[in-house]
Protein backbone atom coordinates (compact mmCIF):
# COMPACT_ATOMS: atom_id res chain seq x y z
CA UNK A 1 0.00 0.00 0.00
CA UNK A 2 2.91 2.30 0.61
CA UNK A 3 4.27 1.68 -2.88
CA UNK A 4 1.88 4.26 -4.29
CA UNK A 5 3.27 7.00 -2.12
CA UNK A 6 6.82 7.92 -3.10
CA UNK A 7 6.30 9.85 -6.38
CA UNK A 8 3.56 12.00 -4.89
CA UNK A 9 5.52 12.59 -1.75
CA UNK A 10 8.55 13.50 -3.77
CA UNK A 11 6.69 16.28 -5.56
CA UNK A 12 5.17 17.44 -2.29
CA UNK A 13 8.58 17.57 -0.69
CA UNK A 14 9.92 19.39 -3.72
CA UNK A 15 7.15 21.96 -3.43
CA UNK A 16 7.82 22.48 0.26
CA UNK A 17 11.54 22.72 -0.35
CA UNK A 18 11.01 25.16 -3.20
CA UNK A 19 8.80 27.29 -0.98
CA UNK A 20 11.54 27.29 1.61
CA UNK A 21 14.09 28.45 -0.92
CA UNK A 22 11.78 31.17 -2.24
CA UNK A 23 11.22 32.38 1.28
CA UNK A 24 14.99 32.52 1.56
CA UNK A 25 15.12 34.98 -1.32
CA UNK A 26 12.72 37.31 0.41
CA UNK A 27 14.82 37.92 3.50
CA UNK A 28 18.24 39.39 4.02
CA UNK A 29 19.49 37.08 6.77
CA UNK A 30 20.82 33.56 6.56
CA UNK A 31 19.34 31.99 3.42
CA UNK A 32 19.25 28.58 5.03
CA UNK A 33 17.19 29.98 7.88
CA UNK A 34 14.56 32.37 6.50
CA UNK A 35 12.22 32.01 9.48
CA UNK A 36 14.90 32.52 12.11
CA UNK A 37 12.66 34.60 14.38
CA UNK A 38 10.06 31.86 14.62
CA UNK A 39 12.75 29.21 14.94
CA UNK A 40 14.49 30.98 17.80
CA UNK A 41 11.20 31.25 19.67
CA UNK A 42 10.49 27.54 19.16
CA UNK A 43 14.05 26.68 20.11
CA UNK A 44 13.66 28.61 23.37
CA UNK A 45 10.38 26.83 24.01
CA UNK A 46 11.97 23.41 23.41
CA UNK A 47 14.94 24.31 25.59
CA UNK A 48 12.55 25.27 28.38
CA UNK A 49 10.63 22.03 27.97
CA UNK A 50 13.87 20.08 28.01
CA UNK A 51 15.33 21.68 31.12
CA UNK A 52 12.01 21.59 33.01
CA UNK A 53 10.84 18.07 32.17
CA UNK A 54 12.65 15.97 29.59
CA UNK A 55 16.21 16.33 30.82
CA UNK A 56 15.41 15.76 34.53
CA UNK A 57 13.45 12.63 33.60
CA UNK A 58 16.35 11.39 31.45
CA UNK A 59 18.83 12.08 34.28
CA UNK A 60 16.66 10.12 36.69
CA UNK A 61 16.27 7.31 34.19
CA UNK A 62 20.05 7.14 33.74
CA UNK A 63 20.58 7.12 37.51
CA UNK A 64 18.02 4.40 38.22
CA UNK A 65 18.71 1.92 35.43
CA UNK A 66 22.10 0.22 35.20
CA UNK A 67 24.00 0.60 31.96
CA UNK A 68 23.34 -2.94 30.59
CA UNK A 69 19.59 -2.42 30.99
CA UNK A 70 19.73 0.89 29.14
CA UNK A 71 21.76 -0.82 26.44
CA UNK A 72 19.00 -3.42 26.14
CA UNK A 73 16.41 -0.66 25.78
CA UNK A 74 18.49 1.10 23.12
CA UNK A 75 18.90 -2.16 21.22
CA UNK A 76 15.22 -3.06 21.52
CA UNK A 77 14.06 0.16 19.89
CA UNK A 78 17.02 0.08 17.51
CA UNK A 79 15.82 -3.30 16.29
CA UNK A 80 12.34 -1.98 15.61
CA UNK A 81 13.87 1.00 13.81
CA UNK A 82 15.95 -1.31 11.60
CA UNK A 83 12.75 -2.31 9.77
CA UNK A 84 12.16 1.21 8.44
CA UNK A 85 15.87 1.71 7.89
CA UNK A 86 15.74 -1.32 5.60
CA UNK A 87 12.69 0.06 3.77
CA UNK A 88 14.47 3.37 3.23
CA UNK A 89 17.63 1.70 2.01
CA UNK A 90 15.48 -0.17 -0.49
CA UNK A 91 13.80 3.09 -1.59
CA UNK A 92 17.27 4.55 -2.06
CA UNK A 93 18.23 1.67 -4.30
CA UNK A 94 20.72 0.22 -1.85
CA UNK A 95 19.64 -3.41 -1.99
CA UNK A 96 22.66 -4.95 -0.21
CA UNK A 97 22.19 -2.57 2.73
CA UNK A 98 18.45 -3.25 2.80
CA UNK A 99 19.11 -6.97 2.84
CA UNK A 100 21.60 -6.53 5.65
CA UNK A 101 19.03 -4.52 7.64
CA UNK A 102 16.49 -7.30 7.18
CA UNK A 103 19.10 -9.83 8.31
CA UNK A 104 19.74 -7.70 11.37
CA UNK A 105 16.07 -7.71 12.33
CA UNK A 106 15.79 -11.49 11.87
CA UNK A 107 18.94 -12.22 13.88
CA UNK A 108 18.39 -9.70 16.64
CA UNK A 109 14.70 -10.53 17.09
CA UNK A 110 15.54 -14.20 17.61
CA UNK A 111 19.08 -14.83 18.84
CA UNK A 112 19.16 -11.29 20.21
CA UNK A 113 16.10 -12.01 22.37
CA UNK A 114 13.49 -9.60 20.99
CA UNK A 115 16.20 -7.20 19.93
CA UNK A 116 17.62 -6.51 23.36
CA UNK A 117 21.04 -7.75 22.25
CA UNK A 118 22.62 -6.45 19.06
CA UNK A 119 24.12 -9.78 18.02
CA UNK A 120 24.03 -8.79 14.35
CA UNK A 121 26.58 -6.00 14.84
CA UNK A 122 28.94 -8.48 16.48
CA UNK A 123 28.45 -10.71 13.44
CA UNK A 124 29.52 -7.87 11.18
CA UNK A 125 26.13 -6.64 9.99
CA UNK A 126 26.64 -2.92 10.47
CA UNK A 127 23.79 -0.78 11.80
CA UNK A 128 22.70 1.94 9.39
CA UNK A 129 21.07 5.31 9.86
CA UNK A 130 18.26 6.06 7.41
CA UNK A 131 14.88 7.77 7.42
CA UNK A 132 12.46 9.23 4.88
CA UNK A 133 14.11 12.64 5.01
CA UNK A 134 17.40 11.07 3.97
CA UNK A 135 15.64 9.10 1.24
CA UNK A 136 14.25 12.35 -0.23
CA UNK A 137 17.73 13.83 -0.02
CA UNK A 138 19.11 10.85 -1.89
CA UNK A 139 16.45 11.33 -4.54
CA UNK A 140 17.65 14.86 -5.08
CA UNK A 141 15.30 16.89 -2.91
CA UNK A 142 17.12 19.83 -1.32
CA UNK A 143 16.76 20.30 2.40
CA UNK A 144 14.83 23.57 2.13
CA UNK A 145 14.44 25.98 4.99
CA UNK A 146 15.59 25.13 8.48
CA UNK A 147 12.70 24.85 10.90
CA UNK A 148 12.45 24.12 14.60
CA UNK A 149 9.39 22.02 15.32
CA UNK A 150 7.83 22.33 18.80
CA UNK A 151 8.73 19.30 20.95
CA UNK A 152 10.47 17.47 18.06
CA UNK A 153 13.29 19.98 17.63
CA UNK A 154 15.46 20.95 14.65
CA UNK A 155 14.35 19.94 11.18
CA UNK A 156 14.14 21.22 7.62
CA UNK A 157 11.25 21.53 5.18
CA UNK A 158 12.26 18.26 3.57
CA UNK A 159 12.91 16.44 6.81
CA UNK A 160 9.59 17.58 8.27
CA UNK A 161 7.77 15.80 5.44
CA UNK A 162 10.06 12.86 6.10
CA UNK A 163 9.25 12.96 9.80
CA UNK A 164 5.51 12.78 9.11
CA UNK A 165 6.13 9.61 7.09
CA UNK A 166 8.54 8.24 9.70
CA UNK A 167 5.83 8.55 12.32
CA UNK A 168 3.10 7.16 10.05
CA UNK A 169 5.23 4.14 9.15
CA UNK A 170 6.66 3.67 12.66
CA UNK A 171 5.89 0.13 13.84
CA UNK A 172 4.99 1.57 17.24
CA UNK A 173 2.19 3.55 15.58
CA UNK A 174 0.59 0.19 14.70
CA UNK A 175 0.55 -0.86 18.35
CA UNK A 176 -2.85 -0.36 20.01
CA UNK A 177 -3.06 2.28 22.71
CA UNK A 178 -4.43 -0.37 25.08
CA UNK A 179 -1.28 -2.42 24.49
CA UNK A 180 0.93 0.25 25.99
CA UNK A 181 1.84 2.16 22.86
CA UNK A 182 2.30 5.48 24.64
CA UNK A 183 4.39 3.96 27.41
CA UNK A 184 6.71 2.51 24.76
CA UNK A 185 6.89 5.87 22.99
CA UNK A 186 7.79 7.70 26.18
CA UNK A 187 10.38 5.06 27.10
CA UNK A 188 11.96 5.34 23.66
CA UNK A 189 12.11 9.13 23.88
CA UNK A 190 13.52 9.19 27.41
CA UNK A 191 16.12 6.57 26.55
CA UNK A 192 17.16 8.51 23.45
CA UNK A 193 17.46 11.69 25.49
CA UNK A 194 19.51 9.89 28.15
CA UNK A 195 21.95 8.75 25.45
CA UNK A 196 22.50 12.40 24.57
CA UNK A 197 23.23 13.59 28.11
CA UNK A 198 27.05 13.48 27.77
CA UNK A 199 26.84 15.82 24.77
CA UNK A 200 24.99 18.52 26.75
CA UNK A 201 27.98 19.94 28.57
CA UNK A 202 30.20 19.85 25.52
CA UNK A 203 27.66 21.82 23.50
CA UNK A 204 27.29 24.36 26.32
CA UNK A 205 31.07 24.71 26.40
CA UNK A 206 31.43 25.03 22.64
CA UNK A 207 28.50 27.22 21.61
CA UNK A 208 28.81 30.98 21.35
CA UNK A 209 25.16 31.15 20.39
CA UNK A 210 23.48 27.87 21.19
CA UNK A 211 20.71 28.31 18.65
CA UNK A 212 22.99 28.80 15.66
CA UNK A 213 25.44 26.19 16.94
CA UNK A 214 22.71 23.56 17.14
CA UNK A 215 21.20 24.66 13.84
CA UNK A 216 24.47 24.43 11.92
CA UNK A 217 25.44 21.17 13.58
CA UNK A 218 22.07 19.74 12.64
CA UNK A 219 22.39 20.86 9.01
CA UNK A 220 25.92 19.46 8.74
CA UNK A 221 24.83 16.20 10.31
CA UNK A 222 21.87 15.73 7.99
CA UNK A 223 23.98 16.53 4.95
CA UNK A 224 26.49 13.95 6.13
CA UNK A 225 23.78 11.33 6.67
CA UNK A 226 22.20 11.86 3.25
CA UNK A 227 25.59 11.07 1.77
CA UNK A 228 26.21 8.16 4.13
CA UNK A 229 29.28 9.76 5.63
CA UNK A 230 30.89 11.00 2.41
CA UNK A 231 29.42 14.38 1.53
CA UNK A 232 31.12 16.40 -1.18
CA UNK A 233 33.21 19.26 0.18
CA UNK A 234 31.10 22.32 0.83
CA UNK A 235 31.28 24.89 -1.94
CA UNK A 236 31.79 27.66 0.64
CA UNK A 237 35.13 26.08 1.42
CA UNK A 238 36.38 27.87 -1.69
CA UNK A 239 36.24 31.11 0.30
CA UNK A 240 39.85 30.50 1.12
CA UNK A 241 40.87 28.65 -2.00
CA UNK A 242 44.21 30.42 -2.10
CA UNK A 243 45.15 29.06 1.29
CA UNK A 244 43.78 25.58 0.85
CA UNK A 245 44.37 24.41 -2.70
CA UNK A 246 44.11 20.66 -2.15
CA UNK A 247 40.50 20.56 -1.05
CA UNK A 248 39.31 23.49 -3.12
CA UNK A 249 40.27 21.65 -6.30
CA UNK A 250 37.54 19.09 -5.84
CA UNK A 251 34.98 21.16 -7.75
CA UNK A 252 34.63 23.69 -4.97
CA UNK A 253 36.45 26.46 -6.77
CA UNK A 254 33.92 26.60 -9.58
CA UNK A 255 30.98 28.52 -8.03
CA UNK A 256 33.19 31.43 -7.02
CA UNK A 257 34.35 32.25 -10.50
CA UNK A 258 31.00 33.70 -11.56
CA UNK A 259 30.97 36.26 -8.78
CA UNK A 260 27.97 34.90 -6.90
CA UNK A 261 28.15 35.99 -3.28
CA UNK A 262 28.86 32.91 -1.17
CA UNK A 263 25.75 33.30 0.95
CA UNK A 264 23.32 34.31 -1.74
CA UNK A 265 20.20 32.15 -2.18
CA UNK A 266 21.45 31.26 -5.65
CA UNK A 267 24.49 29.56 -4.25
CA UNK A 268 22.49 27.88 -1.52
CA UNK A 269 20.11 26.53 -4.13
CA UNK A 270 23.16 25.24 -5.91
CA UNK A 271 24.52 23.77 -2.70
CA UNK A 272 21.25 21.94 -2.32
CA UNK A 273 21.52 20.57 -5.82
CA UNK A 274 25.06 19.52 -5.15
CA UNK A 275 23.91 17.88 -1.97
CA UNK A 276 21.55 15.71 -3.91
CA UNK A 277 24.24 13.88 -5.80
Amino acid sequence: MKTMLPPRIKSLALAVAAAGLLAGCATSGNPKDPIEGFNRAMFAFNEGLDSAIVRPVAVGYEAVLPSPVRTGVTNFFGNIADLLIGVNNLLQGKAPEALSDLGRVVINSTIGILGTFDVASDMGLEKHNEDFGQTFGRWGVGSGAFVVIPVFGPSTARDTVGLVLDIAADPLTQVRASDGRDVLRVLRAVNARANLLPADKVVEEAALDKYSYVRDAFLQRRRNLVHDGNPPREPEADAEQVERPARAEAGAAEPRADGVAPDSPVLVARTETAEAK
Partner: protein, 206 residues
Protein backbone atom coordinates in the same frame (compact mmCIF):
# COMPACT_ATOMS: atom_id res chain seq x y z
CA UNK B 1 52.00 41.34 6.31
CA UNK B 2 50.07 38.14 6.11
CA UNK B 3 53.12 36.26 4.97
CA UNK B 4 55.04 37.58 7.92
CA UNK B 5 52.27 36.49 10.20
CA UNK B 6 52.10 33.03 8.66
CA UNK B 7 55.85 32.73 8.89
CA UNK B 8 55.79 33.86 12.49
CA UNK B 9 53.14 31.34 13.56
CA UNK B 10 54.96 28.68 11.59
CA UNK B 11 58.12 29.42 13.56
CA UNK B 12 56.26 29.23 16.84
CA UNK B 13 54.96 25.78 16.02
CA UNK B 14 58.26 24.51 14.74
CA UNK B 15 60.06 25.39 17.94
CA UNK B 16 57.71 23.23 19.97
CA UNK B 17 57.69 20.13 17.81
CA UNK B 18 60.38 18.06 16.27
CA UNK B 19 60.14 17.99 12.51
CA UNK B 20 59.93 14.28 12.22
CA UNK B 21 58.08 12.49 9.48
CA UNK B 22 55.27 10.60 11.21
CA UNK B 23 52.45 9.32 9.00
CA UNK B 24 49.13 11.09 9.70
CA UNK B 25 47.27 7.97 10.81
CA UNK B 26 50.13 6.99 13.10
CA UNK B 27 50.15 10.48 14.56
CA UNK B 28 46.40 10.40 15.30
CA UNK B 29 46.63 6.96 16.84
CA UNK B 30 49.68 7.72 18.97
CA UNK B 31 48.26 10.93 20.39
CA UNK B 32 44.78 9.50 20.96
CA UNK B 33 46.06 6.40 22.71
CA UNK B 34 48.43 8.43 24.83
CA UNK B 35 45.75 10.93 25.91
CA UNK B 36 43.13 8.27 26.65
CA UNK B 37 45.64 6.25 28.63
CA UNK B 38 46.17 9.27 30.88
CA UNK B 39 42.44 9.98 31.19
CA UNK B 40 41.72 6.36 32.10
CA UNK B 41 44.11 6.58 35.02
CA UNK B 42 43.18 10.08 36.12
CA UNK B 43 40.24 10.14 38.50
CA UNK B 44 40.29 13.96 38.64
CA UNK B 45 39.66 14.34 34.94
CA UNK B 46 36.99 11.66 35.04
CA UNK B 47 35.18 13.50 37.80
CA UNK B 48 35.16 16.71 35.77
CA UNK B 49 38.38 18.55 36.64
CA UNK B 50 38.43 20.74 33.53
CA UNK B 51 41.64 22.52 34.52
CA UNK B 52 43.59 19.29 34.55
CA UNK B 53 42.03 18.19 31.28
CA UNK B 54 43.00 21.52 29.72
CA UNK B 55 46.61 21.03 30.80
CA UNK B 56 46.58 17.59 29.23
CA UNK B 57 45.19 18.91 25.95
CA UNK B 58 47.63 21.84 25.89
CA UNK B 59 50.58 19.55 26.48
CA UNK B 60 49.83 16.52 24.33
CA UNK B 61 47.34 17.49 21.68
CA UNK B 62 47.94 21.10 20.72
CA UNK B 63 51.41 20.80 19.22
CA UNK B 64 49.77 18.75 16.49
CA UNK B 65 47.09 21.31 15.64
CA UNK B 66 47.25 24.22 13.26
CA UNK B 67 45.10 26.83 14.97
CA UNK B 68 45.73 29.59 12.46
CA UNK B 69 44.34 27.38 9.76
CA UNK B 70 41.37 26.41 11.93
CA UNK B 71 40.53 30.02 12.68
CA UNK B 72 40.89 30.89 9.03
CA UNK B 73 38.48 28.11 8.07
CA UNK B 74 35.94 29.22 10.65
CA UNK B 75 36.18 32.87 9.60
CA UNK B 76 36.03 31.91 5.90
CA UNK B 77 36.04 35.00 3.67
CA UNK B 78 35.96 37.35 6.65
CA UNK B 79 39.48 36.25 7.55
CA UNK B 80 40.87 38.61 4.94
CA UNK B 81 38.97 41.54 6.40
CA UNK B 82 40.84 41.15 9.68
CA UNK B 83 44.13 42.95 10.26
CA UNK B 84 47.11 40.76 11.23
CA UNK B 85 46.67 41.95 14.81
CA UNK B 86 43.00 40.96 14.77
CA UNK B 87 43.87 37.63 13.17
CA UNK B 88 46.27 36.98 16.01
CA UNK B 89 43.66 37.73 18.70
CA UNK B 90 41.03 35.71 16.85
CA UNK B 91 43.35 32.73 16.64
CA UNK B 92 44.25 32.95 20.33
CA UNK B 93 40.65 33.21 21.47
CA UNK B 94 39.41 30.50 19.12
CA UNK B 95 42.26 28.33 20.35
CA UNK B 96 41.09 28.81 23.95
CA UNK B 97 37.50 27.97 23.03
CA UNK B 98 38.43 24.78 21.17
CA UNK B 99 40.77 23.65 23.95
CA UNK B 100 38.00 24.12 26.51
CA UNK B 101 35.57 22.17 24.39
CA UNK B 102 38.05 19.37 23.79
CA UNK B 103 38.89 19.25 27.50
CA UNK B 104 35.20 19.17 28.40
CA UNK B 105 34.67 16.24 26.08
CA UNK B 106 37.55 14.41 27.77
CA UNK B 107 35.95 14.80 31.20
CA UNK B 108 32.88 13.04 29.76
CA UNK B 109 34.99 10.05 28.79
CA UNK B 110 33.56 6.75 30.00
CA UNK B 111 35.22 3.58 28.75
CA UNK B 112 34.61 4.26 25.08
CA UNK B 113 37.07 2.60 22.77
CA UNK B 114 38.55 4.12 19.64
CA UNK B 115 38.77 2.14 16.43
CA UNK B 116 40.96 3.25 13.57
CA UNK B 117 39.68 2.68 10.08
CA UNK B 118 42.08 1.52 7.39
CA UNK B 119 44.17 4.34 6.02
CA UNK B 120 46.61 4.51 3.14
CA UNK B 121 48.66 7.57 2.31
CA UNK B 122 48.91 8.03 -1.45
CA UNK B 123 52.18 9.36 -2.80
CA UNK B 124 52.27 13.14 -2.87
CA UNK B 125 49.15 13.66 -0.78
CA UNK B 126 49.29 16.69 1.51
CA UNK B 127 45.69 16.87 2.72
CA UNK B 128 44.14 13.76 4.23
CA UNK B 129 41.30 12.48 6.38
CA UNK B 130 42.00 9.93 9.09
CA UNK B 131 38.81 8.18 10.12
CA UNK B 132 38.20 6.77 13.55
CA UNK B 133 35.15 5.48 15.34
CA UNK B 134 34.20 5.85 18.97
CA UNK B 135 32.47 2.78 20.29
CA UNK B 136 30.50 3.14 23.48
CA UNK B 137 29.30 0.06 25.21
CA UNK B 138 25.56 0.32 25.04
CA UNK B 139 24.83 3.75 23.64
CA UNK B 140 23.67 2.39 20.32
CA UNK B 141 25.46 3.55 17.21
CA UNK B 142 29.17 4.28 17.03
CA UNK B 143 30.25 7.88 16.59
CA UNK B 144 32.49 8.68 13.65
CA UNK B 145 35.38 10.92 14.61
CA UNK B 146 37.45 12.09 11.65
CA UNK B 147 40.62 14.15 11.61
CA UNK B 148 41.67 16.31 8.68
CA UNK B 149 45.39 16.81 8.48
CA UNK B 150 47.67 18.72 6.18
CA UNK B 151 51.36 18.32 5.67
CA UNK B 152 53.57 21.14 6.83
CA UNK B 153 57.28 21.68 7.16
CA UNK B 154 56.99 20.50 10.75
CA UNK B 155 55.00 17.36 10.08
CA UNK B 156 51.29 16.65 9.75
CA UNK B 157 48.97 19.07 11.51
CA UNK B 158 45.29 18.61 12.32
CA UNK B 159 43.21 21.49 10.96
CA UNK B 160 39.69 20.11 11.29
CA UNK B 161 37.82 17.51 13.34
CA UNK B 162 34.47 16.07 12.37
CA UNK B 163 32.22 14.42 14.92
CA UNK B 164 29.47 12.43 13.24
CA UNK B 165 29.95 14.55 10.15
CA UNK B 166 29.84 17.82 12.08
CA UNK B 167 32.98 19.89 11.70
CA UNK B 168 33.75 21.50 15.03
CA UNK B 169 35.56 24.24 13.10
CA UNK B 170 33.22 25.18 10.28
CA UNK B 171 30.24 24.88 12.60
CA UNK B 172 31.18 28.38 13.79
CA UNK B 173 31.04 29.87 10.29
CA UNK B 174 27.48 31.17 10.35
CA UNK B 175 27.83 32.49 13.89
CA UNK B 176 31.01 34.34 12.97
CA UNK B 177 29.67 35.57 9.63
CA UNK B 178 26.52 37.02 11.13
CA UNK B 179 28.53 38.62 13.92
CA UNK B 180 30.83 40.22 11.34
CA UNK B 181 27.78 41.49 9.45
CA UNK B 182 26.38 43.09 12.60
CA UNK B 183 29.41 44.18 14.59
CA UNK B 184 32.46 43.65 12.41
CA UNK B 185 35.58 41.63 13.18
CA UNK B 186 35.81 43.16 16.64
CA UNK B 187 32.33 41.80 17.33
CA UNK B 188 33.63 38.26 16.82
CA UNK B 189 36.64 38.95 19.04
CA UNK B 190 34.38 40.29 21.76
CA UNK B 191 32.02 37.32 21.41
CA UNK B 192 34.92 34.88 21.84
CA UNK B 193 36.44 36.81 24.73
CA UNK B 194 33.14 36.99 26.60
CA UNK B 195 32.58 33.28 26.10
CA UNK B 196 36.09 32.36 27.22
CA UNK B 197 35.81 34.56 30.31
CA UNK B 198 32.51 32.97 31.31
CA UNK B 199 34.17 29.59 30.82
CA UNK B 200 36.94 30.53 33.21
CA UNK B 201 34.58 31.55 36.01
CA UNK B 202 32.53 28.41 35.43
CA UNK B 203 35.54 26.12 35.84
CA UNK B 204 36.70 28.01 38.94
CA UNK B 205 33.32 27.37 40.53
CA UNK B 206 33.92 23.65 40.03
Amino acid sequence: MKFLFALFSGLLISTTVLAQEVAPDVLVKTVTDEVLEIVRKDKDIQSGNTKKAIDLVEGKVLPNFNFTRMTQLAMARDWRKATPAQQKILTDEFHTLLVRTYAKALTEYKNQTVHYKPFTLKAGETDVRVRTEIRQAGAGKDIELDYWLEKSATGWKVYDIEVGGISIVTNYRETFASEVRNNGIDGVIKLLQTKNKSGETASVKK
